[in-house]
């Protein structure tokens, strides 16, 4: 099986080609340039460097969100265009699940945190359990990805009473708060593991594909929100647009009992 994976959910633009539990190539850039200028030239270069036939790809994986709205859409529109033209499915991978997967097998709890602005973070809580003997560790989602304050996620982690490893672009943003808020031991992921990487998206997407195929006689079949068509895929924003939010707040205020 062969997967092309993209992550444009944050500052990092990343693309990887996964083939049978091997990363054939990965290209990541953490730069101020807009993803619209970088991601497809990166796909093009990686394709040429490893001699990838686009038609030979079985599915296209994407970090579906949350993340920067614009970044998510550049990634989404790109994989939709690729998947439609190549007639391949899209594997939608939650951004935070993929980030946590970079620390696959590590001890204790894993807590990716992304800066969601407006004093919030996109986060989730994960752990890895031993898989079958001689197989990969398995990701367990203790708290699904969500948009909450750093205080709320710290409180949740403290209540669980275990060692935590943080990663993600929210770490430097909330470093001071974490020092105050965290009552349990915690540590940080180093440079090669602390930002989005398409290789992790690909590896987790491969797990989703494997499970899907196992349940369907070795065929990859549509699965809502996971194995999608180019028509159906959409980013997972986890948030309404500002205009919708304000409209809703206004309506809630009017409906509130006096």
């Amino acid at each position: 099986m062969k997967l092309l994976a993209l992550d444009t959910s944050g500052m990092v633009a990343s693309v990887a080609v996964w083939e049978d539990d091997l990363i054939r190539g990965e290209y990541s850039m953490n730069d101020k340039k807009m993803h619209s200028q970088t991601i497809l030239p990166m796909v093009e270069q990686l394709r040429d460097q490893i001699g990838l036939e686009m038609e030979s790809v079985d599915a296209i994986a994407i970090a579906k969100g949350p993340g920067s709205f614009t970044g998510l859409r550049i990634g989404s529109a790109t994989v939709k265009g690729l998947a439609y033209a190549l007639n391949k499915p899209i594997v939608s991978v939650p951004t935070l699940h993929a980030l946590a997967h970079q620390l696959c097998g590590s001890e204790g709890l894993i807590c990716p945190i992304l800066d969601a602005r407006r004093n919030q973070t996109y986060t989730g809580i994960y752990r890895y359990t031993d898989g079958e003997r001689g197989a990969f560790p398995e990701q367990v989602i203790l708290r699904d990805q969500c948009a909450v304050s750093i205080g709320e996620i710290a409180q949740d982690l403290n209540a669980r009473g275990e060692l935590v490893t943080f990663l993600g672009d929210g770490v430097p943003v909330f470093a001071v708060q974490l020092r105050d808020l965290m009552k349990v031991p915690y540590r940080l992921a180093p440079a090669h593991l602390n930002r989005q990487r398409a290789a992790a998206v690909a590896a987790l997407a491969a797990e989703y594909c494997r499970k899907n195929m196992q349940a369907h006689d070795g065929r990859l079949v549509p699965e809502e929100g996971v194995i999608e068509s180019a028509f159906d895929h959409a980013p997972e924003y986890l948030r309404l647009s500002q205009a919708e939010r304000e409209r809703k707040e206004h309506a809630d205020q009017e409906n509130a009992p006096a």
Binding site: S36, R73, S76, A77, G81, L86, E244, R247
Partner: protein, 345 residues
């Protein structure tokens, strides 16, 4: 043009997502529309009284592949029949533009079909080629829409000189703002057009603004303020105003200025052909006034039918064809440029 070249059919798949329409089309040789699919988001934005960029962008993501698929199916074509992919990369709203640009680039990369980035206004102007096979540059074109008011000299295919533009609001923007003020709601253009038919265009004389320094530039924000002032004064005096009369009088003020500047340009430059384009070009009062003014001067007058005045991808396919013929190709780093200037790349 070589005879051989003339005979070869060039089919362009075009994508347009610069504002609140998600559109795809297939156009042959820049003039023959094989399919023209438009998904309008207007109902979605009516709630907010105008286009909300984030909401528009989210809708574009949902619709971009379905419209492309429908455009190919209606044309009974597959990617193997397509010679180039044309996409609007500016001007427009950056979020919406990025959806079309990203999808078009990805399709180009996956299929190997060359990509041509197209200027949105160039698309509007080129809409005139579709229904008027005899129309060839040079000619003058007035582009009027919700975001643009340009008086353009089309020197050759893909060669433009902007001789006049708005200093503040676009004509369509003024229509939207006035429509809101007189209780017609969004979108203002078609609503004012309709209600004006029952009003007296000479009921109120609103100012026809002149812009210092350039005879062809426009200004519509003063006119908009004059309408708002008029309404305020009526209210203070406790006088009733008639919606249809205000609409018709405002519309006449806009049309008068657009016609006057266009005719001045025709006289000065000696054009024999004049075209209009853009959303406001489907305004019935503007059309008939331009038609009359052009007839008086014995000038050929061109205008696209309403479906090609609104934002659509067929016009992008038409413009893309002429760029493609000139050898223009875009690479994978093509970016959305919200304030792209006409004639620039």
């Amino acid at each position: 043009m070589q005879k051989e070249e003339m005979e070869k059919s060039v089919k362009i798949l075009a994508i347009e997502s610069s504002c609140d329409e998600t559109a795809a089309a297939v156009v042959e040789n820049g003039r023959r529309v094989l399919s023209n699919i438009i998904y309008s988001q207007i109902d979605l934005h009516t709630l907010y009284g105008g286009v909300v960029p984030e909401i528009a962008s989210r809708k574009h993501i949902e619709k971009v592949i379905p419209v492309v698929d429908k455009a190919l199916k209606e044309a009974s074509l597959t990617f193997s029949d397509i010679d180039a992919i044309a996409v609007t990369y500016g001007p427009g709203l950056v979020g919406p533009l990025l959806v079309g640009v990203s999808a078009a680039k990805a399709i180009s990369l996956a299929t190997g079909i060359p990509l041509v980035g197209v200027h949105h206004i160039e698309g509007h102007i080129s809409a005139n080629y579709i229904e008027n096979p005899e129309l060839e540059p040079p000619f003058a074109c007035l582009v009027v829409s919700g975001g643009h008011s340009h008086l353009v000299v089309v020197k050759d295919y893909g060669e433009y000189e902007v001789i006049g533009k708005t200093r503040d609001d676009a004509a369509g923007e003024a229509f939207d703002k006035v429509a809101r003020a007189i209780g017609l709601g969004y979108p203002g253009g078609p609503k004012i057009d309709k209600v004006s038919k029952e009003g007296d265009p000479n009921a109120v004389t609103f100012p026809r603004a002149k812009v210092g320094g350039s005879v062809y530039d426009f200004s519509f924000s003063g006119l908009k303020s004059a309408v708002l002032n008029y309404l305020n004064i009526c209210e203070m005096k406790g006088e009733k105003w008639v919606q249809a009369d205000i609409a018709a009088s405002f519309q006449k003020a806009v049309v008068d200025v657009l016609v006057e500047h266009s005719m001045n340009a025709i006289d000065e430059y000696g054009f024999t052909k004049f075209a209009i384009a853009g959303g406001v070009a489907s305004n019935s009062a503007l059309r008939s006034a331009m038609e009359e003014a052009c007839a008086k001067k014995h000038i050929a007058f061109y205008h696209p039918s309403p479906i090609l005045c609104t934002d659509n991808a067929a016009m992008i396919g038409a413009a893309g064809y002429f760029e493609y013929r000139k050898g223009v190709r875009s690479s994978m780093d093509l970016n959305a440029i919200p304030n792209l200037k006409l004639g620039e790349r």
